[in-house]
């Protein structure tokens, strides 16, 4: 979330990828830093350590949502 907010502050379109378990922390950080509406895409948890095949599946599932978020679509 912090990286996404830092990028957004520089005027760079940004979307943060946040897993289920870290979604509340994302809320907290986004609110604390004054950007509660920063675009976010939700990922299953965990992602790290689940293997290349699983990463490809997750990427396939969320790629369009990342593009939509960057284009300002809900």
């Amino acid at each position: 979330m912090r990286d996404g907010i830092a990028a957004a502050r520089l005027g760079v379109p940004a979307v943060s990828l946040v897993t289920d378990d870290f979604w509340p922390q994302g809320d907290f950080v986004a609110s604390s830093l004054g950007m509660p509406d920063l675009p976010r895409v939700r990922l299953p948890h965990p992602v790290a350590g689940t293997g290349a095949k699983r990463l490809e599946e997750v990427a396939e599932a969320i790629a369009d949502r990342i593009i939509d978020a960057l284009e300002g679509k809900k």
Binding site: R2, F22, P24, Q25, D27, F28, V29, S32, L33
Partner: protein
């Protein structure tokens, strides 16, 4: 959380604080305005003086807010200068508080106290069982910093503090150096302060790891064996220091072990240098254990756990016996979660009438 809460009774107020998530799970002293004012007055500092912001919630740490944490933790007013200095230490950007509070790693602020404040603002224990129960100053100073990190910094388990398990030092983690019996100069003098200064040094540390050594000092090999055992603890292949490399760590020598090393001709710098040399792993080993983090093509090349010998903080505390302690660190964040030392301004302290 701001403003003054009201309750019908002390017991109701305590339950209310628990319900709001403002406690560490244990009962706290209810921070009534009168108690907070006494704590703040003892600091000799203006209640509205801002020490800085505490992440990840970016709460403003005023002296009043820190006094609230100190009251809740059960501190005596005498302890306030140490609590204030500890808060200043974690606010220092080099400490990487925001990232440290949010990490999944188990890390807690270990407060090391040197100088006259160990007695004037305590007593802060440095002998047998100093990190365990029964020492009011150690227990409540460390707890005050934790409550400040939660209630000012906004670190709440599972939502903003994402430690996967945490460790018991997150309740309190405060220790003084046993300067009077140590064969080494005090830690703060080695860090550039004057001997008559009082100083807190705070590091984001794992729980203490015991280091058993039956060295007696009868032979030169004894000191070597002790150094090897300490380095094995510091450079454990499961620690962040070993895998991520860099950052700091702490070695708490017990009196026997401190005397064995100094009798072997080692001063603090010598101990640090010898531990630094031993705290290393080959690239091949790191690739095998932690392939996601290992870097380098030459599998036989060594990766040192620390960037410099001085990053291994060495002090003496605890009772005499077989066991010393090492505390590896989180050692991540933009500044690698540096250990930060702050002078304790105990000359600002005001004795309270009737206290």
């Amino acid at each position: 959380m701001s403003g003054v809460l009201t309750a019908e009774s002390e017991a109701d107020a305590l339950e209310h604080l628990h319900a709001l998530g403002c406690t560490d799970g244990l009962p706290v002293v209810v921070p009534t305005p009168e108690r907070v004012e006494r704590m703040q007055l003892a600091s000799g500092l203006d209640a509205d003086l801002v020490l800085g912001e505490m992440g990840p919630g970016n709460g403003v740490a005023s002296v009043r807010h820190v006094a609230i944490a100190a009251v809740m933790a059960g501190c005596l007013p005498d302890y306030m200068p140490v609590v204030i200095a500890a808060v200043q230490a974690v606010i220092d950007p080099r400490f990487d508080l925001t990232e440290m509070q949010a990490t999944t790693h188990c890390t807690a602020p270990l407060i090391l106290v040197n100088g006259p404040a160990r007695h004037d603002c305590g007593p802060i224990a440095s002998g047998f069982g100093a990190l365990g129960p029964g020492h009011r100053a150690n227990a409540s100073i460390g707890r005050a910093l934790r409550l400040a990190m939660m209630n000012i910094g906004g670190a709440l388990p599972g939502s903003s503090d994402m430690a996967l398990l945490g460790h018991p030092g997150k309740f309190t983690y405060c220790l003084a150096e046993d300067e009077e019996h140590s064969p080494l100069p005090p830690l703060h003098v080695a860090l550039g302060f004057e001997a008559e200064d009082s100083v807190v040094t705070v590091i984001g540390a794992e729980a203490p790891h015991s280091v058993l050594s039956s060295a007696t000092g009868d032979t030169a090999a004894d000191a070597e064996g002790l150094l090897e055992a300490l380095a094995a603890g510091l450079a454990g292949l499961a620690t962040n220091n070993a895998i991520l490399t860099g950052g700091c760590a702490v070695v708490v020598l017990n009196p026997d072990h401190a005397h064995i090393l100094t009798a072997a001709g080692l001063d603090r710098a010598g101990i640090q240098a010898r531990l630094y040399e031993r705290a290393a792993h080959s690239v091949g080993t790191l690739k095998r254990v932690a392939p996601a983090f290992a870097r380098g093509k030459d599998d036989s090349a060594l990766r040192y756990c620390f960037q410099a010998p001085e990053d291994i903080l060495v002090l003496m505390a605890g009772g005499s016996g077989l066991y010393s302690m090492v505390m590896p660190s989180w050692c991540a964040g933009p500044h690698r979660n540096r250990a930060v030392s702050v002078r304790i301004e105990s000359d600002q302290f005001c004795a309270l009438p009737g206290a």
